[in-house]
Amino acid sequence: MSNPYVPMPVTIEKIVIENKVRDIKTFDLRFNDKKDADRFKFNCGQFAEISILGVGESPIGIASSPMDEDFVQFTVKKYPTGTVTSVLHNLCTGDVIGVRGPYGNGFPMKEFEGKNLLIIGGGFALTTLRSLTKYILHKKNRQCFKDITLLYGARGPGELIYRSELDEWDKRDDINIILTVDDRCGLDWKGCVGMVPNVLKEQAPGSKDCIALVCGPFIMVKYTIPPLLDLGFIPEKIFTSLEMRMKCGIGKCGRCNIGSKYVCKDGPVFTYKELQGMPNEY
C-alpha cells in the first residue's frame, strides 16, 4: 500500500518576499518526479505538509491555483518559535525539500458555481483565498461564477501580500478589489483605512445569491461574521478555514480535532453553520 508518511521531493524554483518585515515568503516548488506532480491534484482550500528532512513538517495552505501546472506555491510566515518555518526561510532556490498531500477538504467549488462570491481575507491568511481567486479568474473558469468581490485587509500597507497580483486584478473589470489597512503607518496609501469588518459594513455587495468566504486571524473572523449575518448571509453560506497544530495530516495522530471533526481531514474548510455545531475549542 502507498505510504502517506513519506514526502515527495520538490525543488525550490523561486522565492518571493511578500512583506516589508520580510517574514512572509512565497515559495514556488517543482516536483522532482513527474509521477508525483501528476498525483498531486488538489482543490482550492486544501493544504499540504511541507517536510524538511531532519527538521520536521508544517501544514501550509496551497497558494497556487489548480490551473497552474508547472509548480505548486506556498506562502509561509516565519515564526520565531517555529523550527520548520525558520529553516525554510533560510533556504535558497535549488534546495530540495519535501511535500506530503494534498490534504483537507478544500472549498466546494461546485457549490460556488453560478453564484456571486464575497471573498474576505485578513493578514497573511489570504493564501488559500488567492488560490481560489486565481482559479476563478482563469479564462476557463470565469464564466462559471457571477460577481466577485475581494475585500482584503492588513495591519498596514507593508503587511499586504501578493501586491503585484492585487494590482493586476484591480485593473480587471470582472473582479472588484477593495483593499484596506488598519493604519496608514505614514505611507502613501490610496486605499481604504479601517478594519475589515467596518469596511465590510460600508462597502459590501448584497447577500442575494452570494457566498461569503472569510479567512484571517481568528479575531478578525470573529468580528466579520456578525456583519455578514446582518447583511443577510445565512450560516450555511459563510465559509472559513481553520488552523490547528497538526502532525500526520491524515486524521490518525489525534491532535487537530475540534469535537469529532479533524481539521486535517474533515476541514480545514468549514461553514459557519458547521462551526456553530462544533465545540468552542479553537
Partner: protein, 323 residues
Amino acid sequence: MIEKIKETVKKLFKENKIDIFIGYNEGTLPLRSTPCFITKPEDIEKLVWNSYCSNNLAVYLPRFFVPQQGAKDAKLPRIGILAKGCDGRSIVGLIKEHQIPRENIYIIGIHCGGMIDTKKIKKVDIVAAEEKNDKVLVEDEDKRKVELKKEELLADMCKTCQYTAPVVYDILLGKEKQKTSKEDREAFIKEFEKKPLEERWKYFQEQISKCIRCNACRQACPNCYCKECFADQTKPKWIGPTNDISDVMFYQIGRIFHQAGRCVDCGACVRACPMDVDLRVFTYKLIKDVKEFFEYEAGVSLEENPPLATFKQDDKQEFITEP
C-alpha cells in the same frame, strides 16, 4: 486526628482565611486516598487522614499562581494545604524559588507516621483494607483476611524519615513521631556506592531501560514546574520523545540533575512511576553529595540560600578562566 483537621479547616473557612483547601479524600481503591480541593464548607466532612495519604500535595500549588493573561490585577487565591513533613519541605522550596507567595499559603502541618507503599503488595488482588493502629487488615478476592504489619508496608523513604512534620507551618497538629537515625537513611546509598563502577552503570541502564517516557516522575514532582521542560524543547532540540535508550538516559540524567540542591526526597516520582524504575538510588545520591559538599539540605529553612543558585564573590572561577 481527622476531627482536629476538619475542625481547623472549618475555622479557616469561617474566618475567611482561605479560598481553597487541598487535602485528601477517600480513594476508590483499597489502600488509596486521593487529593481533594475543597471550596465549600460542606465538603469538609469528606476529608480523611490515614496511611494512604501519600501524594505530595505541594505539586498543585504553582498552578494556582500562574499569571493569567489579561488578568494582571486578578486577586491571587489563598490556599490552605495539609502538609506532611515531605510536602512541607516541597512548599519551602517553592516559596524560595518564588513560585508561590508565602502569604497566600496557610500550611496545616501534621506529624506523619509514614505512608504505605502499595507496590509492596503484588500478585494479590486486594478488595478491601482497613487500618487499625499499627496493623493493616486486608481482604483478598477469595475473602481471605490477612493481618499485615504496617511498618513492613511503609515506603522506603518513610521508614527512615528525618522530618515527620513540616519545618515551616501556620499550625501544627499531631504528636511527634519517633525519628530514625540519619545513618539508616543513608545506608542504602552507602551500600550502592561501594559497588564497582561497571556494576553501578549496569544497574542504572537496567533501571532506566524500563522507562516509557510517560513523564509521570516530572509531573508528580513539585519542583518540576517549568512551563517548557528541557525534554520538550524544540529550539534547541536536546532529546527526542522516544523510549530509545539515548533519549531516556538524557532525560533521566537531565531531570535528576536539575533537582540537585532542590530535591527533598519526598518520593513522589518513585510512587508515580508506573514502571517501578528505581529512581531514588540516583536522586538520593545527589542529596547526599549536596549535603557533603555544601552542607545544605533542601526544604528545611526559608532563609538559607540554595547553594546551586547562589553566587558569592569568593566563588572559584578557574573552571571558566582556566578551563
